[in-house]
C-alpha cells in the first residue's frame, strides 16, 4: 500500500513539474485558450530553428510587431528538422490560429504542411524561405541566391577582379547552403581569373569555420578572398587567419549581418556581410498577415531588400 | 553387461598441457557412475569430449556400441547424451517451458509459429514426470536455484537423453533439495537412464553412485564399484597421497566476546542474534534461502539493515557500510567468487590488495614498492601458486583464486573474518589448505563466522553452530551436541528458538 502511494506521489511530482512549466509560459497558454474563444487575432509562427541567432532575430522582429499590433504570436521551433516542422504546424492548425507564418526548413518538405493549412482554411505566409507548392498568400523574404551573387560581386571587386578564393559552405543539404552557394558560384564561374581553390563545409558553425579554414590556410599558400555561407563561419575563419598572421592579405565576406559580424565590419576586420534584415522580415511577416486578416489585399511577394554591410 | 559409453585410449593435448593421457572410461547402461578428481585432473575435458564440445586427439568413443566422433553438442544430443553444467545455463527472462525447449519448440501453422500451448503442455508433462511442481509459464528467474536445476534435468530428458552428465549439480543445493535430486536420479536410473555424476562431495558419491572413476593428472587411476571403496581410498587416489583427516580441527583457547549481534533484521532475515568470541569459529548452517548470506551481507554493510544492533568490542556500530566495517576489523569472503569477489581482468596483485589500498596509501597515491612487498608476503604465506604478481587472476585455478581472496581479507588484519561458502567448488587438496588457514587464524585470536552448506565441513570446523531457517535463528548448537541429523532437523523443521 505504502509503495502504491509512493508511486502516486511520484506521478504527482511529474505533474507539478508541468504545472510549473505551464505556469511560466502563461502568455502562450492563454494564446491557445483565447484562440479557442475568438479573442484577439492569433498568428502562428513556425521557425526553422531557434538555434541560430538569425532566426532568433527574425522571431524577435515578429514578436515586437505582434505586441505592437495587439496580436498573439505562438512560436514553434522546428530545430531544422522537417519532420518536426510538419508536426509543429499540425499542432498550430489544431490550436486554431488565424494565420500561419512559416519559415520553412526546406521549400519542398513544407508543401504538405502548407496544403494541410489550406484545407483547414488558414491563410499561409512564408518568410525568408519559400514553399514550392500549396497556396501561399504572400512570401516575405530576401533572395538567398541574389545574396550569394551580391557577395561574389563584392568579393571579386575587392580582390581586384582576379585571384584565388575559398568558399566555406553551410550544412550540406540545407537550402541556405544550396542557395547562397548557387548564387556565389553563378558569378564566380562566369568570371575568368577567379578560381575557387577550396570549397569545404564548416556546417554553419564557428568552431568548424576556425578549424577548417586553419587547414585550408595550410594547404593554400595563396588566398585572396573567402566567402562563407554565414557569419558564424566567416568569423571563425577570420580568427584562423588572424592567428596565422594572414588576415590582412585576405578579403572576408560573410552572410547574415549578425551583431558580431557587423561589429567586425566596423572594426575593419571583416570586409563585408550580406544583410538580410531578419528583424524586418519577421516584422513584415506579421504586419502583412494582419493586413490580410483585416480584409485588405496584400502583394504575393514582399521583398525585403538585401544590403551589403561594409565599412 | 551393456555399456552406454566406452572410451579407450583417449588423449587430448592443449598447448603446453597433456590434459588427458590414455584415459579409458566405461559406463554401464542404467547406472549412476561417479567421476571424481581434483580440479585440473581432466574431468571437465573428459566430459567435453563426451558431450561433443571437444574432439579427442586420439582414442575411440562408443555410445551403446556405436563408434562415434562428435563434432558438436548437437550431435552428442542426437545420440542421447545431455550435459547439465555446473553453472546453470538459463535465459532468465524466458519461461520455464521456453527454456526447456529452447531451439526445439513445437511449431504450428507450417512451422512458421511456435505452438506455445503444446510447448507448455509438453513442459508440464516433463516436469510432472520428475514430480517437480513448477508452473511452466513463469520466467525461470523466479524459480529457486534448486528448481532451476530440476528444470535442467527436465531439459535433458526432453532430448530423450539416455546418458545425462551432471557436473557438480548439488553445489548450490541444500540437503533437502539434494535429496529431491537424488530421488530423481534414482528414478532416472530405474527408467534405464545412465547418469554420470561429478562431485567433490564424497558422501554424495557413496549415497548415489554405483561405480566410481578417479582421475588424476589426466589419467584414470581406478574404476571400481562404490561398495568396494571407502572414503580414504578415494581421497588418496585423488590426491596421490594420504590425508589423515579432511577437517583438521585445532584446539584453540576461546577468549572474550568480541562481537555481539542482537535482533539484526533486513531483507531476507529477521531478528538474528548471536555472539562471537575471540578465536572462535562460528558455523552458520541452514538451507539455501534461509537468509544466511543475506544476514552476513547485512552485517558487513553491503545490504541495508532495518533493525537490530551490532556491538563490536562493546562499541555499538551504527548504519554499517562495507568500507567502515573493514576499518573496524571485519573482513568478508563472499559466496559467489566470480561475481562478488574477483576482478577477472586485473592482476593477482591488484586483486589481493584492493581492499587494503585506502588503508595503505592514505594520501591516495600508490607506491608500487610497498604494494609488491605486501603482495609477495601473502603469496608466500598462503602458498598461492601464480607465475607472477602481474598474472591476470582469471588464469589461476579456483583454489588459488580463493586463496587470493582470503589473502585480501588477511591483509586487512581482521578481528572478525566472515567466510560465505569458502570451499565451494574447490578440490580436496586446496580445501584442506583453506581449512588449515582458518584454523591458524582462529588460533591467532581471530573470530570467524563461516557459512557452509556442507554439513561435514560445518561439523568438522566449527566451535559453535547457528542454524538458520526462513530468515531466523532456528537453533544454536555447541559442537559437542551437534550432529548432521540434529542440524538437518532444525534447518528443515525449525524447532523454536
Amino acid at each position: 500500500m505504502r509503495r502504491t502511494l509512493s508511486i502516486l506521489v511520484s506521478l504527482l511530482l511529474v505533474v507539478s513539474g508541468f504545472a510549473f512549466a505551464g505556469g511560466s509560459q502563461e502568455a502562450g497558454e492563454s494564446a491557445a485558450q483565447e484562440a479557442a474563444e475568438s479573442g484577439p487575432m492569433v498568428i502562428g509562427l513556425s521557425v526553422s530553428t531557434l538555434n541560430n541567432p538569425f532566426f532568433v532575430t527574425l522571431r524577435d522582429g515578429a514578436q515586437e510587431t505582434a505586441d505592437g499590433l495587439g496580436v498573439e504570436l505562438v512560436v514553434v521551433d522546428s530545430q531544422d528538422d522537417p519532420a518536426r516542422e510538419a508536426s509543429n504546424i499540425q499542432d498550430l492548425i489544431q490550436q486554431g490560429v488565424d494565420a500561419l507564418l512559416i519559415n520553412p526548413t526546406d521549400s519542398d518538405a513544407v508543401v504538405p504542411s502548407v496544403q494541410r493549412a489550406n484545407q483547414a482554411g488558414i491563410p499561409v505566409f512564408t518568410v525568408d524561405r519559400g514553399a514550392n507548392g500549396g497556396e501561399v498568400v504572400a512570401h516575405i523574404a530576401s533572395d538567398n541566391v541574389a545574396g550569394g551573387e551580391m557577395a561574389a560581386n563584392y568579393l571579386i571587386d575587392a580582390i581586384g577582379g582576379s585571384g584565388k578564393v575559398v568558399e566555406l559552405q553551410g550544412i550540406p543539404g540545407t537550402s541556405a547552403a544550396r542557395d547562397r552557394g548557387e548564387g556565389f558560384n553563378n558569378v564566380v564561374n562566369d568570371t575568368s581569373g577567379v578560381e575557387i581553390v577550396a570549397a569545404q563545409t564548416a556546417n554553419f558553425n564557428r568552431t568548424e569555420g576556425l578549424n577548417v579554414f586553419q587547414n585550408i590556410l595550410q594547404a593554400e599558400p595563396e588566398i585572396d578572398g573567402v566567402f562563407a555561407h554565414n557569419d558564424e563561419m566567416i568569423l571563425g575563419a577570420l580568427q584562423a587567419a588572424e592567428a596565422a598572421g594572414r588576415a590582412d592579405q585576405i578579403v572576408f565576406v560573410g552572410f547574415d549581418a549578425v551583431d558580431d559580424a557587423v561589429a567586425a565590419v566596423e572594426d575593419g576586420r571583416l570586409a563585408a556581410t550580406v544583410a538580410q534584415q531578419p528583424s524586418e522580415i519577421g516584422s513584415l511577416g506579421v504586419s502583412t498577415a494582419v493586413t490580410y486578416l483585416e480584409g485588405q489585399d496584400v502583394d504575393s511577394y514582399i521583398p525585403v531588400p538585401l544590403s551589403l554591410v561594409t565599412q | 553387461m551393456q555399456y552406454s559409453l566406452k572410451m579407450q585410449g583417449i588423449h587430448k593435448h592443449f598447448p603446453g598441457v597433456h590434459a588427458l593421457d590414455d584415459v579409458s572410461f566405461d559406463v554401464e547402461a542404467g547406472s549412476v557412475h561417479a567421476l571424481v578428481g581434483e580440479n585440473g585432473a581432466g574431468k571437465s575435458t573428459l566430459m567435453k569430449l563426451i558431450s561433443g564440445s571437444l574432439v579427442p586427439d586420439e582414442g575411440s568413443i562408443e555410445v551403446f556400441g556405436e563408434a562415434v566422433r562428435f563434432r558438436s553438442p548437437a550431435e552428442a544430443q542426437h545420440h542421447g547424451i545431455s550435459m547439465i553444467h555446473q553453472e546453470l545455463t538459463v535465459v532468465p527472462e524466458r519461461s520455464v517451458a521456453s527454456n526447456i525447449f529452447l531451439g526445439r519448440e513445437p511449431r504450428a501453422l507450417g512451422g512458421l509459429f511456435i505452438d506455445y500451448r503444446a510447448l507448455n503442455t509438453q513442459a508440464k508433462a516433463l516436469l510432472d514426470r520428475l514430480d517437480v511442481r513448477v508452473d511452466p509459464t513463469v520466467p525461470i528467474s523466479e524459480l529457486s536455484i534448486a528448481q532451476q536445476q530440476m528444470v535442467e534435468v527436465a531439459k535433458a530428458l526432453s532430448y530423450n537423453a539416455r546418458v545425462i552428465i551432471m557436473d557438480e549439480p548439488t553445489s548450490s543445493l541444500t540437503e533437502r533439495e539434494t535429496a529431491t535430486l537424488f530421488r530423481i536420479i534414482r528414478d532416472l536410473r530405474a527408467d534405464g537412464i545412465t547418469v554420470i555424476y561429478i562431485s567433490h562431495r564424497l558422501e554424495e558419491i557413496f549415497e548415489i553412485s554405483d561405480r566410481v572413476t578417479v582421475l588424476r593428472d589426466g589419467r584414470t587411476i581406478r574404476t571400481d564399484a562404490t561398495a568396494d571403496l571407502d572414503e580414504d581410498t578415494i581421497v588418496s587416489s585423488m590426491v596421490g597421497r594420504t590425508i589423515d583427516t579432511i577437517f583438521p580441527k585445532r584446539e584453540v583457547e576461546i577468549g572474550e566476546t568480541i562481537l555481539h549481534v542482537d535482533g539484526l533484521s533486513g531483507n531476507g532475515f529477521r531478528d538474528v542474534s548471536f555472539s562471537l568470541r575471540k578465536g572462535e569459529i562460528l558455523g552458520i548452517s541452514g538451507l539455501v534461502g534461509a537468509g544466511r548470506s543475506e544476514m552476513v551481507r547485512g552485517l558487513m554493510g553491503i545490504d541495508p539493515v532495518d533493525g537490530g544492533s551490532i556491538d563490536l568490542f562493546g562499541q555499538p556500530v551504527t548504519t554499517p557500510r562495507v568500507a567502515g566495517m573493514m576499518r573496524r576489523g571485519f573482513a568478508f569472503v563472499p559466496e559467489d567468487r566470480k561475481e562478488e569477489a574477483l576482478f577477472l581482468g586485473m592482476s593477482v596483485r591488484d586483486n589481493l590488495v584492493v581492499s587494503l589500498l585506502s588503508r595503505l596509501f592514505r594520501s591516495g597515491l600508490i607506491q608500487y614498492g610497498r604494494l609488491g612487498e605486501v603482495t609477495a608476503q601473502y603469496i608466500d604465506k598462503l602458498r598461492i601458486q601464480t607465475p607472477s604478481q602481474g598474472q591476470l587472476i582469471r588464469n589461476l585455478s579456483g583454489g588459488n583464486q580463493q586463496k587470493v581472496i582470503i589473502a585480501r581479507c588477511l591483509a586487512l588484519k581482521p578481528s572478525v573474518l566472515i567466510l560465505d561458502e569458502p570451499t565451494r567448488g574447490i578440490d580436496v587438496g586446496a580445501k584442506a589448505e583453506i581449512h588449515t588457514i582458518i584454523g591458524d587464524l582462529a588460533a591467532q585470536g581471530v573470530g570467524i563466522i563461516m557459512i557452509s552448506s556442507e554439513l561435514p565441513e560445518i561439523l568438522g570446523v566449527s566451535d559453535r553452530i547457528v542454524v538458520m531457517k526462513e530468515g531466523r535463528v532456528a537453533a544454536q548448537l555447541d559442537r559437542t551436541e551437534a550432529t548432521q541429523d540434529l542440524i538437518m532437523q532444525k534447518a528443515a523443521t525449525g524447532g523454536g528458538s
Binding site: 587547414n215 595550410q218 | 569477489a341 576482478f343 591488484d350
Partner: protein, 314 residues
Amino acid sequence: MTTTFDLGALFRRFGLLIAIAVLVFGLALLSPQFLAVQNVLNLLLQATVNAIIAAGMTLVILTAGIDLSVGSVLALTAVITADVLQAGVPVVLAVVIGLGAGAVTGLVNGLLITLGRIPPFIATLGMMTLARGLALSYAQGRPITGLPDRFLLVGTSSMLGIPTPIWITAVVYGAGMFVLRRTVLGRYIYAIGNSSRAARFTGIPVRSATVAVYVISGALAALAGMILTARLNSAQPIMGLQYELNAIAAVVVGGAALSGGEGGLGGTFLGALLMAIIANAINILNISPFVAQVLQGSVILAALLLHGLSRRNQ
C-alpha cells in the same frame, strides 16, 4: 612462453600507432603541406577539444559507463562562463565557476546513476537534452561575445611556440595518466569496470568513485568548452553538438572496451589524433564534404576491425 620476436604482440600494442604512422606517411606523399610544422601544430590544436572531452569519457567508459551529455554540458558551461565574464567577474573566478558548473552537471549524472540506479546511457541521454535546453534558455539562443582579452589567452596564446590549448591537453593527459596509474582512485576505476558487484563487496567506495568520474567528465567538458570559447571569442548555446559521439569514437578507436575495465588514456589520445588527422586531411586535400562522413565512418570501422583482428590472434 617463446621469447622470439612476436609481430602480433607488437601490433596489438602499437597497432594504432603504426596505422597512424602509415596514414601520415601516405598523406605526406599526397600533400607536402601535411607535415609542415605549422600544420602539425594546427592538427594538434584541433584535436585538443575532442581529446580533452575524450579523456573524461575514457574514465567514464573504464567504469563501464558512458556520458552522452558532454556536448550539451560543454555548451551550457561555455555560455555560463562567458556570461559571468561579461558581468565583470575576474577571469580566474569565471574559469572556476565554469568548471564548477561542469562538475555539478557531472554530479547530477553521477547521482542519477548511483542513487537513482538509472543506466548511464539513459541518465546522460536525459541530461544531454536537458542541458542543451538550459544552455539555449540561458543564452536565449544567441552567442555571447566580447570577452576579456585575458580570458582569450587561454585559446590564443602560445608558450615556446606551442599553442596553450595543446599544453592544457598535455597537462590533462598527464594528470589523467597519473590518476589511473598511481592513485587509489585509478585502481578503483578499473575495479569497478571489471565488476561493480565485486567492487561493492570488497569495500571499494563504488558510489563516490563513480560519481567522481562523472564529475571529472563534466569538468573536462567545461574545460574543453572554455578553450573553444576562448579560441572563438564567443560562447554559443549550440556548441558541441554530437561531440559525445566523437569522444566515444576516439575512446573506442583507442582500444577501450565499452564493457569497462579495459583501455587507457594513451590509446584515447591516439584515437582523438587519428580523427583530427582525417578531418585535417579532408580540408588539406579539398575532398568533397559529401565524401567526408563516409570516409570518417570507414576509418573508424577499419581501426576497430584491425584492433579486433589483432586481439583475436592472441
